[in-house]
């Protein structure tokens, strides 16, 4: 479960995130939506403990990220928009390295299963420099899934992927939420895709919450309009900036 209470992040005088509060329960997928510069990435980075929040409290699977960061981080995975991999390690070596960091005892079996699920088993001994962007994204997913996190954060996970890879990634996310009860937050500009994947939506504008609820609740509040239409109405002049 992800619990965020009064999260605020300041960069000097600039407020990037302003008093955000919400909860994502196990099995829920929250779509974090907002125009460029609305504070989506900053929010995700604060939630994952990459940067400290200026104010507020973040709890990951019951662990306060500021007070007990190791336990909180053991329960989460963060997927950046650009997969961060080491050029001189193979796919298998990435999994071995990750396993040691997260102390995954049965990493060998889990790793191979993950690679098979991601159609990467035959690429296990290749350097990541030999992989396409989509394949690198799969390696990042395999590393992130290896320790079976209870919470996942995705920052623009589908950027640069081909339609087939988008479909597979989407199915994987849904499976993680439905089958394993993982709490997931996805930040993306692909609104039609979020409509397919997310159970909840949080729309932010200039760091503050402008709408939050299940997809049905938000649609009902706006006469059944599509998410794109709702986004344009709520974000108004900020959209497209």
């Amino acid at each position: 479960m992800i619990a965020c209470d009064g999260l605020t992040k300041l960069y000097g005088d600039f407020t990037a995130v302003n008093d955000l509060s919400f909860v994502v329960h196990p099995g829920e997928v929250l779509g974090l939506v907002g125009p460029n510069g609305a504070g989506k990435t900053t929010t995700l980075r604060c939630l994952a403990g990459i940067i400290p929040a200026t104010k507020g409290r973040v709890s990951i699977d019951g662990h306060n990220i500021a007070e007990d960061p190791l336990a909180a981080k053991q329960a989460l995975s963060f997927f950046a928009d650009e997969p961060r991999l080491f050029d001189y390690l193979t796919v298998r070596q990435h999994l071995e390295f990750t396993a040691r960091l997260y102390q995954v005892a049965d990493a060998k079996e889990r790793g191979m299963k993950l690679l098979e699920d991601l159609d990467m088993a035959d690429k296990a001994d290749l350097l990541t420099t030999e992989l396409s962007r989509g394949m690198k994204q799969k390696v990042a997913l395999a590393c992130g899934f290896l320790h079976q996190p209870r919470v996942m954060f995705f920052d623009e996970p589908l950027t640069g992927l081909d339609p087939l890879a988008i479909r597979r990634t989407k199915d994987l996310l849904v499976a993680q939420a439905r089958e394993r009860g993982v709490a997931i937050i996805i930040s993306s500009h692909l609104l039609h895709l979020l409509e397919e994947v997310c159970s909840h939506v949080l729309i932010v504008k200039r760091g503050a919450k402008v709408a939050h609820g299940t997809l049905a609740e938000i649609r009902n509040a706006h006469n059944g309009a599509a998410l794109e239409e709702i986004f344009v109405r709520l974000v108004g002049e900020d959209a497209g900036k």
Partner: protein
């Protein structure tokens, strides 16, 4: 052409404005002041201030000799850089933005080439000025300016010749001449040239030292005779014209030599501009490679070529459970090349050690002057390398940790205490550096013992004890000297961004100053950290002297107390680094 001129002038102006704006940040201003001061005191005042020393007076014969040597060097550089080493691809570098904007635009190939040549002039002028600083400290006043002009002509001619040659090679390649065939052909031509030169030298009348005035240098006239015999004058003639302004002393000789040099430069310009060779494919490939290297530099990795090749075999199997620091150590060994590369290095060092032990045996059994001299050279080299490594190993380890910081947003999501990251990142380079130090120490010590034993029978024991103490002390001292620069990277990340202080390409004077400042601060901090070690070591020496006169016990007590202090400093340093890592705020960057 006006659009290209606009692009050229605006790029130059914007780059200058960006650098000027950057000076609002204190670190860059301080860097500029430091670099400016350094350049003024080290180079500039020698060049343009009133000269106080005695002027170098060179005879006309020596001037002619230097011109010939300069022409010979230029000939060798031209052959190697333009015709033998490069591949058969038309070489002209464009940035990715230039490729995206200019290649699809309605601009002729010839105009693109002219644009690139004009654009390269700024860099060539800067390099010429730098070479003048380095090579012209004995020149003053007008000579400094003429030297800058001379360097500009030489570098431009070389650069244009390289582009022209690459166009010509590209055409030959398209007509079926492979790289290896071409290299063989040029090497055959060079061999034929050498044969002619050798024949000339053989036929040349020998120089009789008895005919020279007493005390005269016999080499200068001999070299002059050689460089002016047979086909040599013809061969060197065009190159002598290019280097003539460089060796001209005074304004008048310089201006007299200028037209011929500029004429050759002009001919090169016409050759390149009229070539109309297809360079687009090679330019795109080259831009992609440079872009990959730049991306790696921004991630904090220093590479000469983009990362390619085979997967590397780990040095040991990484089990999933255990201290997390080991994962970083395991990664370090893979990064250093894995089992294959490290195995090759180990074999090389073992062969070196075996050779040295054989030498040491020869010294003991039948010492000849040659064996003794060789032993002295190798032994001194080992101790000198050891001395250098005191700074280098720590710097290398700190550099690796800095590169780790470049991927901080990923590291920050790992559930590991900061000290495990710090220890793991530093441990790999420290262990590898220590292994090399131990080998150098053992070779140096073995040779030193056999050499010293020839003069004093009881020399072996103190040398062996000293070396043993140093061997124990080295890993700790390496770790200690790595901690301070690594802490500086974590405490002042803005000052130590990879690809900034570490990469002069993005630089300018201010970044050069920043590097100077970092280097000086690190040396000072390392010296400061060694003060308590030296104090406690000395205290142990004197304290043990009160109880025993046995040298071995005294050394042991020094090593134990100094080692203990270094160990304490290292442990405290790792804990401190871990604390800095955990508090490292990416949002401040």
């Amino acid at each position: 052409m006006s659009a290209l001129f606009y692009l050229f002038t605006r790029s130059l102006a914007n780059s200058l404005i960006h650098r000027l704006k950057r000076l609002r940040q204190p670190k860059y201003l301080l860097g500029l002041i430091l670099a400016g001061t350094y350049i003024y005191f080290y180079f500039y005042r020698f060049l343009f201030a009133e000269f106080r020393g005695s002027k170098l007076i060179i005879s006309p014969e020596e001037q002619e000799l230097w011109r010939n040597i300069g022409a010979g060097l230029l000939l060798a550089a031209t052959l190697a850089l333009s015709w033998i080493l490069p591949s058969s691809r038309a070489t002209i570098n464009f940035s990715e933005a230039e490729i995206a904007l200019l290649f699809p635009a309605p601009i002729t190939r010839r105009r693109l080439v002219i644009f690139k040549i004009l654009r390269s002039q700024v860099a060539l002028l800067i390099i010429s000025a730098f070479f003048t600083f380095v090579s012209g400290r004995w020149r003053t006043g007008i000579d400094a300016w003429t030297r800058t002009g001379s360097w500009w002509i030489i570098l431009n001619t070389l650069s244009l010749h390289r582009i022209g040659a690459s166009f010509a090679l590209s055409r030959l390649h398209q007509r079926g001449l492979s790289d290896w065939k071409r290299r063989l052909a040029f090497l055959a031509a060079v061999a034929a040239l050498c044969a002619v030169v050798y024949y000339t030298w053989r036929e040349m009348p020998g120089l009789r030292p008895s005919k020279l005035p007493k005390g005269a240098d016999p080499l200068t006239p001999y070299l002059n005779q050689f460089l002016t015999a047979g086909p040599m004058p013809w061969l060197l003639a065009p190159f002598k014209l290019v280097v003539a302004p460089f060796f001209a002393h005074g304004a008048m000789p310089f201006f007299a030599a200028l037209p011929a040099a500029l004429g050759i430069l002009g001919l090169h310009f016409l050759w390149v501009v009229r070539a109309d060779a297809s360079f687009e494919d090679a330019a795109i490939e080259s831009a992609q490679k440079r872009s990959a290297l730049l991306a790696a530099a921004r991630k904090g990795e220093v590479r000469v070529t983009p990362e390619t090749g085979k997967a590397r075999i780990p040095l040991f199997t990484l089990r999933p459970l255990g201290p997390q620091a080991t994962a970083f150590l395991w990664k370090s060994f893979i990064r250093a090349g894995g089992r294959r590369t490290l195995g090759r290095w180990a074999a090389f060092f073992m062969a070196l050690a075996a050779g040295s032990f054989w030498l040491s045996h020869q010294n003991a059994e039948s010492p000849t002057p040659a064996v003794v001299t060789l032993s002295v050279i190798i032994g001194t080299g080992c101790y000198f390398a050891l001395l250098l490594s005191f700074v280098l190993v720590g710097q290398q380890a700190a550099g690796q940790l800095r590169q780790g910081i470049a991927g901080m947003d990923l590291l920050k999501t790992y559930p590991l205490p900061g000290w495990q990251f710090a220890l793991g990142e530093l441990l790999g380079p420290v262990l590898m550096g220590t292994a090399i130090q131990w080998i150098a120490l053992s070779i140096g010590t073995t040779l030193a013992i056999t050499l010293a034993s020839a003069h004093a029978a009881d020399a072996a024991q103190p040398i062996l004890l000293g070396a043993g103490g140093l061997a124990l002390f080295l890993p700790l001292s390496n770790l200690g000297s790595a901690i301070l620069p690594a802490a500086a990277a974590l405490a002042f990340p803005g000052w130590m961004k990879p690809g900034e202080a570490g990469n002069a390409a993005q630089g300018g004077l201010e970044v050069m100053g920043l590097r100077l400042l970092l280097g000086i601060s690190q040396l000072l901090l390392i010296a400061l950290a060694f003060l308590p070690v030296a104090f406690f070591g000395a205290a142990a020496w004197f304290a043990s002297g009160m109880f025993t006169d046995v040298f071995a016990w005294k050394v042991a007590s020094v090593v134990a107390s100094a080692g203990f202090i270094v160990l304490l400093e290292a442990a405290a340093g790792i804990a401190w680094l871990g604390w800095l890592f955990e508090r490292f705020d990416l949002s401040g960057e």
